[in-house]
């Protein structure tokens, strides 16, 4: 029954981590890139606790060519986890052949050898100058891995939502992340992972 839901080219993505990592914003940016600049139907929802920092936090994005009836995710095509806790908690929501993307420093125990383990937070800190933009780095990598949209659309959406004064850092973060994603996808092709998007 679950398969029927996905028949009409529906893509479901979850960005997860702990509160304060900027994942809800990352979800909004991705939804904006896909909805406003790529002309797709999108629904972005989130789940968070009452606390401002800490606690599990997640942002879900559904992307479709047709009208989205059910706005929440049921079986994930891609899961991004920036903490071990969120990886453990949501890994089961991934569908068969779904893609797992994790931060290599935060998630040490991978539930599957087919995961992409990339140093998002480290890259943000060392090359973009602040760990705060790790959300944009990882979001851009996700967009590239899934081949969701060209970099230009993503960059436009990032700069739309970036707080004033942080544009340069966010642009760097977006470019770094996108490159990481493209590279990861190339490696995956070479190794011929089973996955059909």
């Amino acid at each position: 029954m679950q398969r029927d839901i996905h028949e009409n080219h529906r893509i479901e993505i979850r960005l997860s981590g702990s509160g304060g990592q900027g994942l809800v914003l990352a979800g909004v940016i991705l939804a904006e890139a896909m909805g406003v600049y790529e002309g797709k139907n999108v629904a972005q929802t989130q789940s968070y606790g009452p606390e401002a920092r800490g606690g599990a936090s997640r942002s879900d994005i559904v992307i479709s060519d047709t009208e989205i009836h059910y706005p929440k995710t049921t079986q994930l095509d891609l899961l991004l986890s920036l903490t071990q806790e969120s990886c453990d908690q949501y890994y089961r929501s991934l569908k068969e052949n779904g893609i797992l993307v994790v931060d290599s420093d935060k998630v040490r125990q991978l539930p599957s050898h087919k995961a992409f383990s990339l140093p998002f937070i480290k890259t943000a800190k060392e090359q973009a100058g602040t760990p705060v933009v790790a959300n944009v780095v990882s979001l851009s990598a996700v967009a590239a891995i899934m081949e969701l949209c060209p970099k230009e659309s993503l960059l436009k959406a990032v700069l739309m939502r970036a707080p004033r004064g942080t544009e340069d850092k966010n642009r760097t973060a977006c470019e770094l992340g996108y490159e990481m994603g493209v590279e990861a996808r190339r490696k995956m092709r070479e190794r011929k992972y089973a996955f059909d998007h």
Binding site: M1, Q2, D4, I5, V28, A31, E32, G35, V36, G39, N41, V42, A43, Q44, T45, Q46, S47, Y48, G49, P50, I68, H69, Y70, P71, K72, T74
Partner: protein, 392 residues
Amino acid sequence: MSEVETQNKRKQLYKSNTPLLMQGNEACAWGALAAGCMFFGGYPITPSTEIAEMLARYLPQIGGHFIQMEDEIASIASVIGASVAGAKSMTATSGPGFSLMQENLGYAYMAEVPCVVVNVQRGGPSTGLPTKVAQGEMMQAKWGTHGDYFPIVLVPSSVKECFDLTIRAFNLSEKFRSPVVVLSDEVLGHMREIVSLPPQDELEIITCTRPNEPPEWYRHFEITPDYLSPMASFGEGYRFHLTGLTHDEYGFPTSKQKEIVDKLEKLRLKTARHIDEIADVRLDLMDDAHIMVLAYGSTARAARQAIRIARKKRFKVGMVQPLTIWPFPDDIVGRLLEKVDLVIVPELNQGQIIGEVKRLCQRHIKIVGLNRFDGELITPAQIVDKIKEERP
């Protein structure tokens, strides 16, 4: 700020015909601005706060007013005051605040003061689950305050409908001189979707009819043939009295039997006589359906997906979605109930609107609820499973 300046300012802020990514709460705020809302009095509460935030930013820019009051009791009081002075007014809240507003809402029903209350539902009772979704106030919106009254309550199911129904809420409140409640929920309020706002001049905006007789003849609560009375505002030269006590056509307290009955009947008949105009039901695949899923609010989203999955499995199932939940669309739903032999009512509560369906059903058919109250949305799979379970 003059009327013209306000209109120009509003036009500058309002972006039509461009796809925008927005939350249901933002859409409510845009709907309010487009409908001509000039006053918001409220108290922030999750998950409704974004409505207050947006109107706090934009209302002062168009010459309107935003006040954060000390609590929700004062909020609805300020809204009533602003409305009586002639401003289209609203507030937004969630369960705990909606409970606090009930007493003054009753006053607004009795004194026939137009205003809009958006209740973005979260888990309850009491402070419940602040960040989780529920549909627990379906009955409170109908019977929340004491006495015999007949509220108008609208339930959106998408971000666009949050915009549309907020405008409709203002229109109905002006026309029927009554509070109108919009029952949104946490999923709708915080969900983002792409919306393209229609141009402002294409929107139908209703403002209450003004009296055209001289002030000395004016009766604020005049009982007219269609039960809708023209409305003057305080400060315009028309004299009238406002009270929560049962009153005559001038607004003064009465204990004459005829005047009491006339007043209370008016409260009922002004909506009952216009039910066709107020009722709004969306039908989906109902033409040949033997199974009906009656769903509203964010639950309708799961139902719309579910009936399509079930159709592929050859279940003849359709969906009925009341966008106006009170007054309940008795005629439309009653007629549809004659054609089906199984009804499923998914709700994010332990069974509230299912009672209305049972009340309307004259025949012996199976009416079952599908209830979830753990703070998450019902999934399409759950509804399909329920259909299979009831019709193996």
